[in-house]
Point group: C2
Chain length 298, copies 2
């Protein structure tokens, strides 16, 4: 019979903890800025207690599962990457068990590696992809370093990373374009997104069309409030085109996102002639944890 699960998505700069009931309901959620980079050597049992100790007291019998950078070289213990293609069972089986302060075992999930021409890795996203429960399909997880993963026959067969969010931040905050960019208005967002998705299809490529934001604003054709949305749409459009070039055509993309990110990627997928299903990161994480925890408990 399934037990409740206490699950942590424990990344570099922050941790999110969930108490999940036997039936998959999120009973409690916590968010803490105790990312792994703030944890001193040997400090992980105490850090876990600080982040999720109260959840343990609520559900002392819960299974404990930790995902994300906590399983990296700089984390609690290094759980080696599972090479693709990887099934949920293979991911769960490659988890490592550590002991909490009171000796209770906790499972640390591994990340995945992929070697399709270029080497690539992920940690944490594999759990969300598993949570989508796909038999065959393609998943998009937008972010600082977006991930696209291909699922075939229930296994993650390959994936690729895109530096989209980070390059958006650099262009928006640190480049010559940042001087022209104003806070986005509704009108600016509308104009910028339309112009950016259109620019993503222009033959000059990203280096040319990123610079065009400047000329278009200087020429009075785009307002300063459109610069951020323009760059966002331009980069998202390039990410989508690159991912499809790597993975082949898919009519439907399974997007793991919420809020503004879900909106901009959704619009980008529509602009590329695709359909999107949207799952929130929390829902995907919780479902993935249940699937992976179940594989261990079974």
């Amino acid at each position: 019979m399934p037990r409740p699960v206490i699950a942590l998505d424990w990344g570099t700069t922050r941790a999110r903890a969930f108490l999940i009931s036997e039936t998959g309901e999120v009973l409690e959620r916590r968010s803490a800025d105790q990312g792994i980079q703030s944890v001193p050597a040997g400090g992980f049992p105490a850090a876990f207690e600080a982040i999720a100790g109260d959840l343990r007291r609520m559900a002392p019998e819960a299974q404990i599962v930790l995902a994300g950078m906590v399983g990296s070289r700089n984390g609690w213990v290094e759980a080696a990457y599972v090479p693709c293609p990887a099934s949920p069972d293979a991911i769960a089986a490659a988890g490592l068990t550590v002991a909490l302060a009171d000796g209770t075992p906790a499972l640390i999930l591994p990340g995945l590696s992929c070697d399709e021409g270029a080497f690539d890795v992920m940690r944490g996203e594999e759990t969300l992809i598993v949570g989508l429960g796909l038999g065959d399909g393609i998943a998009c997880l937008p972010g600082t370093h977006s991930k696209w993963a291909l699922v075939e026959g229930g296994r993650i067969t390959r994936f690729a990373s895109f530096m989209t969010g980070e390059i958006w931040g650099l262009l928006r905050q640190n480049s010559i374009l940042s001087r022209l960019a104003e806070e986005p208005s509704e009108e600016g967002a509308r104009l910028g997104l339309a112009a950016g998705f259109a620019a993503a299809r222009r033959p000059g490529g990203l280096l040319n069309t990123a610079f065009a934001a400047r000329s278009e604003v200087l020429a009075g054709r785009l307002p300063g409030s459109a610069v951020g949305p323009y760059l966002s749409a331009l980069l998202v459009g390039h990410e989508i085109a690159g991912a499809l070039a790597l993975s082949g055509r898919h009519d439907t993309v399974h997007l793991v996102a919420e809020g503004a990110m879900a909106e901009s990627y959704g619009a980008g997928l529509v602009a590329a002639g695709l359909t999107a299903t949207v799952t929130t990161p929390e829902a995907a994480f919780v479902a993935g944890i249940r699937r992976l925890a179940g594989a261990i408990a079974a």
Copy 2:
């Protein structure tokens, strides 16, 4: 009979001044950090004197020609962009005359604009392109914001800007990749350039292959000393591909560059199956000034 020319390439952050003989020889050159952004309102005659006063005393009869951002809205006087297609005569004719401190006239050259789908502008590069003396051909001027220009029938018919140098700096200095990058060694440069030019042809695009620098270093496949050269080659490769997609195929590219820039772009052009001719920026500037000054004097 032609006169000597005192010519300034007067940009945002610096100025370079040349005394050019009647026969086109550079007799003297000066470099100063008095870019137009450091010149107060009304301070241009005095700034010119500080930069090139001694050249005037050497050649009091010289014609004075100023190119670059000195002709922008934030410069001495705004010389409106000449729309492409633009002949050297049209560029020279659109120059504005200002008075030096002693009343001597000085010609301020205009920039160019281009409206091929996206609006684009240049100031200063038009002089170097004219200096190539092309009847028909394509010119590449690498830099923070590289320019590619198409010359047809002796006129600059269109051009495009690429944010290559600036994005290289952002990725190399301010991104997650900067932590992995070490000072380039000869071996690192060799490995990085080869890997970067190959990556520029991969289907995932720039956002994917930029991130691959990280995974390849973490996987031990590239040394940290290859990160900067890899990113340089990747970006140059994308710039070349984008420029050719905009302008159509050309077997020979007329490159205006020197030093490391000439080497990396030359290697990128060879990797793309093209031939490069190389002209130094100084040679192109001096030849362009002579051509444009001659059009006025004539």
